[in-house]
Amino acid sequence: MTSEERESNCPTIVSVGDHRRIKQPRRRELAMFTDRPWVGLRTFGDGVYWTVRRWCLQDHKALMYSVNQTVSLLGQVIISVRVAPRNPSSDVILPYSKANGSARVKMGRTEVIASVKAELGRPSSSAPGKGKVSIFVDCSPTAAPQFEGRGGEELSMELSAALRQCLLGGKSGAGGGINLSSLSIVDGKVCWDLYIDGLVVSMDGNVLDALGAAIKAALSNTGIPKVNIASATTPDEQPEVDVSDEEFLQFDTTAVPVIVTLTKVGRHYYIADATSEEESQMSSAVSVSVNQQGSICGLTKRGGAGLDPSVIVDMISVAKHVSEELMNKLDSEIAAAEAMEEDSS
Amino acid sequence: MEVDRADGRTPNQRRPVVCTRGVLHRAHGSASWAQGDTKVIAAVYGPKAGTKKNENPEKACIEVIWKPKTGQSGKPEREYEMVLKKTLQSICLLNVHPNTTTTIVIQVVNDDGALLPCAINAACSALVDAGIPLKHLAVAICCCMVESGHVILDPSKLEEQNMKAFVYLVFPNSIISVLPDGSKRPGGEAMEHGIITSVTHGVMAVDDYFSCVKLGRAAAAELSDFVRNSLKLKAGNDPSKVG
């Protein structure tokens, strides 16, 4: 595949805020490393990505952390908030009514959509003062032909489980990105149930991170209707609630963590935001979710190969670094997308 | 008599039996069997190529599907299927068509007691109708123990529910053979004295069971003659069906 072809295949990757700064080392490095042997990986999405990655794989792990994150990861995150209702893919995720919030995230050629729907429900008896959140991911056959029928079920299940683990925190709610208590309306009687649906539209690696980002964006786009509780009900009865059509409460998403997946390729190197090609060569991958305070809110590992404990510790600290910038980038992208949406409406 | 039966029968009196073969056109063989108000239709499809997983491909496989009168089939139907399958396996010549499956579908039309025996009789006639090779026929009968210790035959649903215990018995019918008497008798007993299938429900003394067997055997012999005659009759009317 020549570089021209590649560029025509992925036109969306060029809107990087500061890619000029990196362009310069790129030329140098290209010249420097063209004669070096390739480390088990083939070409990647775009030129910048390619050279820096290659450069990292060759030598300096430390350099990889700093450069890789700015270029490959942040450069490719493009977010557009609110899927237009006419969009055919929105039929899949919003079967009954308009979602309360949604977002589409592209990372390179990976594209995912997340939608959030809020419904009134009853809190579970074990946690009367809390709302409920459920996360489900669907892999569309448009992403890969093998997802036709029930083929995508396994991956969907794995992604859903990983997202739940990374975003919802522990049993007591510690580390959860969503404050469940804020979803409570009447203790033990009425609460909001949030249904978060993810849809993988196109897949080119690192789907989990993209889904995590999409959910964060969708949540910040979510308006939950204000609820007025009709007073004077006996404690036994289900209270009557009046859902407002006009007033919406914005959802606080500062606590929602971002997910960073580091894929281990070869013996010593791990890379953020791997493409499908890179994932096909992976021995294992670690997904870490990190919140704004820099605490780890969840971690899962994929791939069979074992890792040395020190490597995992190392990966966690790298993920923390990467997450900081991803978080900032994501926040600004979300803000920009929100602003754009307001302008257009 | 010591026992009063609601329909005025004597204890040893069976209900009238009606057997019609070839009632279904799409099936390879079919029969309807009615004992009083209990009526069952059996259809046979096969032998079809191949056996299911976990079945011995060196023999023919028998598959039974039990359709209740209403609703979905549950545990009792599963049990009926299993009993019927094992019973039919023991009368079919399984080595003749190895690696094939013969499906028997039982449709309950009406249940008024002695349902399983009725279904076994129906299935047996349907197998003959389909021309499946059999060792011999099987005749099924239901015996009931009344509280007072008497035995009644072929009970209705109401009688079945009020019984102390009941027994479903399946006997082979006697083979009319050119061989001299006794050559077919393992252990010195006539073949039709052996029990193919026995299913009991309720507590009874061991001796009571044997008195049930004795009465059941006598009734089965009568029934066996009936079956043989009815099959002959049909075979004469419609020779294309047999063979």
Partner: protein
């Protein structure tokens, strides 16, 4: 050198037997039957070693682990409260379920339940209900309002023949171990567990069933499965024997030797009266054995 050669010899002869067993299973077994012995060195009419442990499941109200040879059954009872049916306001209910999880046999796969499981389930509940072992009236709590529903779940942990016998043994043992929790009626009309710790909190609600902690079991049924093959009767078959010689007969007798069930679903061999009588004699013997095993298990439990 000599020794190793001898060892080789032994191995080869062992292989031969093993191959014979796999290739001609019926002849292999018939050769044994001629000698009136079975491949596992048992006489024909003898059942395998049987053991019983009560209280195997801590989270259940009654439980038992039964082992016949390597066939293993774990039974547990959980008591829940229900509103009794209108026709029988003074009776509780039992629900019996027999499970064959994927761990028990290579034939069973997850998601596809074994063919035998619902049949054994049905047989078990028929046997236990019709044997009259339990008086459902004992399961009543508040007439017309509340009664116990006893959920008995039996799991086959290892399937090696005679599943029904082992399951029935585990089931009756679980019932004899059953300890009904003391409950009281709370203000909402619901039955709740009566706890002694929370003194002063609800002394007003008296326990409703303090004197009814144990069920009285009358005439406990025990089962024995035999294989009929030609003129031989093999008691308590293994899975291998069951697959080769297909005529099975299961006899259930209660403690007073009344016949609860005589179950012979087809099979190539016919059961003549003398054979059935022999089988019944074997079951009588077995009932005695199992009764002692059960009594010992209960004694062991009480000592603990």
């Amino acid at each position: 050198m000599v020794e190793s050669a001898k060892g080789m010899n032994d191995l080869s002869s062992e292989m031969e037997v093993d191959a014979f067993r796999r290739l001609f299973p019926l002849r292999f077994h018939e050769r044994h039957l001629l000698e009136s012995v079975r491949p596992d060195a048992r006489p024909l009419g003898k059942a395998r070693d049987t053991s019983l442990a009560l209280g195997a499941v801590a989270s259940a109200d009654g439980s038992a682990l039964a082992k016949i040879g390597s066939t293993t059954m774990l039974a547990a009872i959980k008591m829940e409260v229900m509103t009794p049916a209108k026709e029988t306001p003074d009776e509780g209910c039992i629900a019996i379920e027999f499970h064959m999880p994927a761990i028990c046999s290579p034939i069973v796969r997850p998601g596809r339940p074994a063919e035998a499981a619902p049949v054994v389930s049905k047989q078990l509940s028929d046997t236990i209900v019709s044997s009259g072992m339990l008086d459902l009236k004992e399961l009543s709590l508040v007439s017309g309002k509340a009664a116990w529903m006893a959920y008995l779940d039996i799991y086959c942990l290892d399937a090696d023949g005679a599943l029904f016998d082992a399951a029935l043994l585990a089931a009756v043992a679980a019932f004899s171990h059953l300890q009904i929790p003391v409950v009281s009626l709370n203000d909402d009309g619901r039955i709740v567990v009566f706890s002694k710790e929370s003194e002063g909190e609800k002394p007003k609600n008296k326990p409703v069933n303090e004197e009814k902690r144990k069920l009285k079991l009358r005439s406990i049924p025990f089962g024995l499965t035999c294989i009929i093959h030609k003129n031989y009767i093999l008691a308590d078959p293994t899975a291998e024997e069951e697959s080769i010689m297909e005529t099975l007969i299961t006899i259930v007798l209660d403690s007073s030797y009344q016949l609860v069930s005589l179950y012979k679903p087809g099979g190539p061999a016919l059961a003549y009266q003398p054979i059935i009588q022999d089988c019944i004699a074997l079951s009588r013997q077995r009932v005695g054995e199992l009764q002692t095993i059960l009594n010992e298990a209960i004694c062991d439990m009480e000592v603990d």
